[in-house]
């Protein structure tokens, strides 16, 4: 049986769960039972497994089991030069890769001390592509959430509109989702000729579509009835759990790192920070979180318009502009510990670097991923609710498993 070309020998005695349940069946009370949700289930948005302890339909406890998509990001990062880590950063939050790249590149630039010398045009292009990507990420969040709640049409609408964004970004970078476009100290390429015009057309196209989307989904009575007053996340709990992004803002705190830290060119741009107000029920319910995402799309559109205006006037494309001019030949930060954070569509993405000052490979690169932290709040707000509402809550937390498992 066992020969060199057989990779795996079937051995039934050796079978055991590699990820055993936290609760044991013997310890349960007679009315309790364990239901396993995932890892292969469309409503868990990836390979997330939830071990749910149930009493009838009432949830007693939820234990998320993660790690099914673990790709050893931190181990890889310890073995690659700083600039070669960027493709791996793309694969963290793969529906908003530009935002992740932006934060990562910014961190390394600050460690090197070249953050102030990055040309303004480069920064504006970065913000432009990042905000385009933010819209596409929120589209996914809203569309799939609608589908979880039984509304199928909005999903097709957002996928259709997202396609325009992906094609724009593909035109700029050459890839649809995993771009490797924002480099340390610059960009892969300048925007292609005609990009600004196409982008303006896209903005003109998207604005009425957003109104349509809001009408068919967000303000729909069925949707409101399903999501209002469900999964209320109190603000104190949210902060204590480290929750950030639209989930925290849905709970009513005006906290956006683009404004608080004011990195890149965000201080020069005019945009609002929408927060949950409890219009349909309680502050911090599922409807609030979805509504915040919807409003953030409007704000991103505003930011894109301002970026386009600056990119066609003050920081116009010139023949001799080289977006790679500031890209360092040798990336060797001096020995230090450095924590950088930035706002991605899901929340605060942080990178902790330790540079040893002797090599251009990070000694340690830890990723503080927002989905990972946001997911940890799920058990806290799921105790005592109905099992159907668990799906409603999970959808609004908007986890991307690539980022949770890294």
């Amino acid at each position: 049986m066992s020969s060199d070309n057989v990779q795996y020998v079937y051995n039934p005695e050796g079978l055991q769960l590699s990820e055993p349940n936290k609760f044991r069946v013997e310890d349960l009370r007679s009315e309790e039972m364990i239901i396993n949700l995932g890892p292969q289930h469309p409503s868990t948005h990836g390979v997330l497994r939830l071990e749910v302890l149930l009493d009838g339909e009432i949830i007693r406890d939820v234990v998320p089991h993660i790690g099914y998509l673990h790709r050893c990001f931190e181990k890889h990062a310890e073995n690659l030069p700083f600039n070669q880590v960027i493709p791996f950063v793309d694969r963290l939050d793969y529906v908003a890769a530009m935002n992740c790249e932006h934060v990562y590149a910014m961190g390394v630039e600050r460690m090197l001390g070249i953050a102030e010398q990055i040309p303004k045009r480069v920064e504006y292009v970065r913000v432009l592509v990042a905000e385009l990507n933010r819209i596409s990420s929120h589209f996914i969040a809203i569309g799939t959430y609608g589908m979880d709640m039984g509304a199928f049409t909005p999903f097709f609408w957002v996928m259709r509109d997202r396609e325009h964004i992906l094609r724009l970004l593909e035109w700029a970078s050459g890839a649809r989702m995993l771009y490797n476009y924002i480099w340390i100290g610059g960009l892969f390429y300048d925007l292609p000729v005609g990009f600004e015009e196409r982008c303006t057309e896209f903005i003109k196209y998207i604005k009425p579509k957003l109104v349509e989307l809001e009408e068919i989904l967000i303000n729909n009575k069925i949707f409101i009835d399903r999501t209002a007053k469900v999964g209320v996340l109190p603000l104190e709990l949210a902060i204590n759990c480290g929750v950030t992004g639209p989930v925290l803002r849905g709970s009513g705190l005006r906290f956006d790192l683009r404004r608080v830290d004011g990195y890149s060119v965000y201080p020069e741009l005019d945009f609002d920070i929408p927060i949950g107000e409890g219009r349909m029920g309680a502050v911090g319910d599922c409807w609030d979180r979805t509504w915040v995402r919807m409003q953030e799309i409007h704000e991103s559109v505003k930011i894109i318009e301002q970026c386009l205006a600056r990119l066609t006037t003050d920081y116009k494309r010139t023949r001799d502009f080289d977006p790679q001019a500031m890209v360092p030949k040798k990336i060797r930060p001096k020995a230090q510990d450095f924590y950088i954070r930035g706002e991605t569509p899901k929340g605060e993405l942080g990178f902790f670097f330790r540079a040893d000052g002797r090599s251009d490979i990070p000694y340690r690169c830890k990723c503080r991923s927002c989905s990972f932290v946001n997911l940890s709040v799920l058990p806290e707000i799921s105790r005592g609710i109905l099992i159907a509402d668990l799906i409603a809550i999970l959808g609004t937390i908007d986890v991307v498993m690539g980022e949770v498992d890294r």
Binding site: S18, I66, K75, Q336, F338, R368
Partner: protein
């Protein structure tokens, strides 16, 4: 916004043992002893003048076999004062053990599980210290600098 010096003075006040300012950290911070960690965190969290209500990140760093230590770095942030602070604790590599702060910030729960999973740091008093990213029957802690993967995992050859 709290000044860095004020926070350091506050930490010194509540520390039984030495507090060293670590210049090579951004955001700036201090190195404290493991035995002081829980008390200092509690005070930083509760005191109305400090109010570090958010724990951004917990990172464990292996300093290698020669140094024989592991650093645990806590990135704190105060939303109302918009101030950052970093705490660093050094534990030995052979017996990395320190108190959990997951009873103060719930964020620490999963971050500490991750530190246990990938670097083998034990957190005393943690409610649920299981592996989080790797399978429960994985051997070793991969982010240790001297980690060597097993040749076989469940009869599957690891290339």
């Amino acid at each position: 916004m709290n000044k860095f010096e004020e926070i350091v003075a506050f930490v010194r006040q509540h520390c039984g043992q030495s507090v060293d300012i670590d210049e090579a950290m951004t955001p700036r911070g201090v190195r404290i002893q493991a035995s002081d960690l829980h008390k200092v965190c509690e005070k930083l969290h509760e005191d109305p003048a400090m109010y570090f209500d958010m724990l951004s990140c917990v990172t464990a760093v292996d300093n290698g076999v020669e140094a024989g230590t592991i650093d645990i770095v806590y990135n704190l942030y105060s939303i109302p004062f918009n101030s950052h602070f970093t705490l660093k604790v050094v534990v030995s590599r052979e017996q990395p053990e320190l108190d959990t702060v997951s009873d103060i910030w719930k964020t620490a729960n999963w971050h500490e599980r991750e530190a246990w999973d990938l670097l083998g740091v034990k957190f005393r008093g943690h409610p649920d210290l299981r592996r989080i990213l790797l399978p429960a029957d994985w051997e070793g802690h991969p982010l240790r600098k001297d980690y060597k993967h097993a040749e076989y995992y469940r009869d599957i050859k690891v290339d």
